[in-house]
């Protein structure tokens, strides 16, 4: 029996050696990748975003990058530069000035996808921004910005979306404390669209959208704080009844501590930088 086993092992070895003798013929790559055609805008985006911050700005349509359940269109090419200048000033530059390029470059999203319109949902909501996998921020409605880029309200609405989505990116990399979810645990609702600003403030939320779920609540609390001046934030708080105001302040403290401890972001200092940037964009001072 032992002999038979040896024979089998030897034969298997011979077989293995024999079958290994076949030669693969390596030829030139079948892929012929031509040099990409870069427009002036492409070169400017490369020099302004890719080289310094490793952020790719996608403005040309690639359906694989988009949410295919909505009817969407790409932005108008001639309107892209003005929009991303605002993004750089009111978003990227503020974090760079606050904590330095070396700290924020690794946590910045790696892609900014721009779309010409908002995403209209069947429930009546319009999606204005989205964060994906800690790496990508989708910014909708870019074409509208072109026509209203000197309006403080318009600039602020886009700045709000940017910082809101960036908060998701940060949360996707380091989770925020569970304590936040326990502040208003039973007030979250899927039908937040039906809630008024007044209802939201009464229930301890900065906006109706924050009532959707804790992640949105966290991002809304952060972005609503940093995109408002001190007076505007106080006005928001004063519009809330005492109980709602206390809940919002409690949430803000959790957000503030998380940003400080996890990312070394001083929210008051960031707010001052954002306010200055919004003013600069509004007045064309850039």
């Amino acid at each position: 029996m032992k002999r038979i086993c040896y024979i089998i092992i030897v034969l298997l070895g011979v077989q293995t050696l024999w079958s290994s003798c076949a030669q693969d013929k390596f030829e030139d790559s079948i892929y012929d990748i031509p040099e990409p055609r870069l427009s002036e805008l492409d070169v400017w985006l490369r020099d302004s975003f890719v080289t310094p911050y490793n952020i790719e700005v996608l403005y040309r349509w690639e359906d694989i990058e988009t949410d295919m359940t909505h009817n969407l269109v790409p932005p108008t090419q001639s309107r892209v530069q003005r929009f991303v200048q605002m993004v750089k000033l009111c978003f990227i530059d503020t974090y760079v000035q606050l904590v330095g390029k070396n700290v924020v470059n690794p946590i910045f999203p790696k892609q900014l996808l721009l779309l010409g319109t908002g995403a209209f949902s069947n429930d009546g909501a319009i999606i204005l921004g989205m964060a994906e996998a800690g790496k990508k921020i989708v910014l909708y409605n870019v074409d509208e910005y072109y026509f209203h880029s000197t309006s403080r309200d318009t600039i602020t609405s886009y700045v709000h979306t940017l910082h809101h989505e960036f908060t998701h990116i940060l949360n996707q990399q380091k989770a925020y404390p569970l304590a936040f979810k326990k502040i208003t645990p039973s007030s979250y609702t899927v039908s937040w669209q039906n809630e008024s600003d007044e209802n939201a403030l009464t229930a301890g939320f900065v906006t109706p959208y924050a009532m959707g779920q804790p992640d949105e609540d966290f991002a809304e609390t952060f972005s609503s704080y940093v995109d408002r001046s001190t007076a505007e934030w106080n006005n928001l708080l004063n519009a809330a009844p005492a109980a709602g105001r206390a809940l919002i302040q409690k949430k803000l403290e959790v957000v503030r501590t998380y940003m400080e401890e996890a990312w070394h972001i001083d929210m008051d200092a960031l707010r001052a930088l954002i306010q200055q940037s919004i003013h600069n964009v509004e007045t064309g001072n850039y």
């Binding site: 034969l11 040309r60 269109v73 319109t117 949902s121 009546g124 909501a125 039906n194």
Partner: protein, 458 residues
């Protein structure tokens, strides 16, 4: 002995396993190399014609007309477009990619994207647009044509080489003729298209390029409606499918610059399209058509959810004229006024507890408070049928009302919009009830047809 026999078989098996299967490739090159070569050929073809390519886009042959476009593709990745639905030429970029085979993609906003833009309202609703395409799966490429199917909606489209005239005047002529089809401001409501000895009343919808026409059947006297799609031509417009009424078939109209009128240009048919203050024919028993199978007729709802983004957008849409296709301009102001005060919908209810009709307003105590539970206030009307054809009526106020919230009733009744609607409905001249498609009916003032309101059965 048996084991040895089995052992002899083993080397045989190994020998068989060693034999490599000879693979005969159908193609000499890999799939990747072939599709690259195909795209290179497509790039060469698409940039070749001196005046580029022209195409007729028909996004939805059930509910949308045709949109013409001319495109010149440059080797640097830019594409210029002129079309019959936008005034200005657009310049954008294009590229080829591989997803469902080779795909041509207009990758930045162009005239084609206008047709796919969800901001273009369709029947007052945002989000769908005109079902346009800007990515095309390449099906066949020759020097004389490029055949595609739209990647999103799947409709076929063919590009043909364009001529110089397509750029210098043809698209502008198409656009002008299409625009001439749109109802002229302050024109009478009725638009009679005469066709030999018969006539139809047409209502043209500019964004969708469709016509709904209504006619009286010669034999049964029944009032019937149908729709057709409109396409710009050098001379005027083409209609597809053709209008077939009482044995007459019509598919073309020519615009006469001197008379400023569309005239029938289908051989063997004489007629023209004219505005008229009076109905072209009796809309026989249209009142019964309006009342049957539904207890009420109403305006479109506004603020379908509480004062959220949808409601605000709907209101904005109303403010910029998005509801202009539902009512005459004098009512639009009143409609906005009532909507801002909390009105969601205006209705004519045929029967409440055996009595009616009623002029009813539904809504909430404020615009911001609109939700699915809302109040109503109803004012009784007397209705008089004005002729035997039962298509003309007059309403008068009966000084009787029902309400489930006194505050809502007060909020509504003090609005200027309420007075505007009340005066409109109770105009002593009365109305012609004009059937349209999709269970919709126009109330058209008998003395001045420029005053009208579109109601839907629900």
């Amino acid at each position: 002995m048996k084991k040895r026999e089995i052992l002899w078989l083993l080397p045989l098996l190994f020998l068989l396993a060693r034999c490599t299967v000879k693979e005969d490739y159908i193609f000499e090159e890999s799939a990747t190399a072939r599709i690259k070569a195909y795209i290179t050929a497509c790039e060469a073809t698409i940039t070749k014609p001196e005046y580029g390519w022209k195409a007729l886009f028909e996004p939805n042959k059930q509910s949308l007309g045709g949109y013409n476009i001319v495109m010149k593709f440059a080797e640097d990745g830019n594409v210029r477009m002129v079309c019959d639905f936008l005034e200005d030429e657009t310049t954008s970029t294009y590229s080829f990619n591989e997803s469902q085979g080779a795909v041509l993609c207009m990758d930045t906003y162009s005239a084609l994207h206008y047709l796919a833009d969800p901001r273009i309202p369709r029947a007052g609703v945002l989000g769908v647009g005109l079902e346009g395409e800007f990515e095309f799966v390449i099906k066949e490429v020759t020097a004389d044509s490029m055949v595609f199917t739209g990647k999103k909606w799947g409709e076929p489209v063919v590009f043909y080489p364009a001529e110089e005239r397509d750029w210098t005047g043809r698209m502008a002529a198409y656009r002008e003729h299409i625009e001439k089809m749109a109802p002229q401001e302050d024109s009478p409501f009725f638009r009679a298209l005469t066709m030999n000895n018969t006539a139809v009343n047409i209502v043209y919808d500019p964004p969708t390029r469709t016509i709904i026409y209504t006619y009286s059947d010669n034999v049964s006297k029944e009032i019937l409606s149908a729709s057709t799609r409109v396409y710009g031509t050098d001379e005027g417009v083409r209609l597809s499918p053709e209008i077939r009424v009482n044995g007459v078939v019509l598919d073309r109209l020519r615009y006469n610059q001197s008379t400023r009128m569309f005239e029938v240009s289908t051989p063997g048919v004489v007629g023209a399209l004219r505005y008229s203050n009076t109905p072209p024919f009796p809309f026989y028993k249209s009142l019964n058509m309006l009342r049957e199978r539904s207890t009420f007729a109403c305006t479109p709802r506004i603020g379908s959810l509480s004062g959220n983004i949808t409601g605000i957008l709907e209101l904005l849409l109303a403010l910029i004229g998005g509801h202009s296709s539902y009512m005459t301009s004098e009512l639009q102001l009143g409609y906005r006024n009532l909507a801002l005060a909390g009105m969601k919908q205006f209705r004519i209810i045929w029967d409440i507890d055996g009595e009616g009709p009623w002029f009813s307003l539904f809504g909430a105590l404020s615009f911001a408070a609109m939700d699915d539970l809302y109040y109503s206030t109803s004012y009784k009307l007397n209705m008089e049928i004005l002729r035997d054809d039962e298509d003309q009526v007059r309403f008068t106020w009966a000084n009787e009302k029902q309400t489930d919230n006194a505050q809502f009733d007060t909020n509504m009744s003090i609005q200027a919009g309420f007075a505007a609607f009340r005066l409109f409905i109770t105009d002593p001249a009365g109305f012609t009830i004009v059937p349209s498609a999709n269970e919709r009916f126009y109330l058209v003032n008998l003395a001045d047809s420029r005053r009208w309101l579109l109601l839907s059965k629900e």
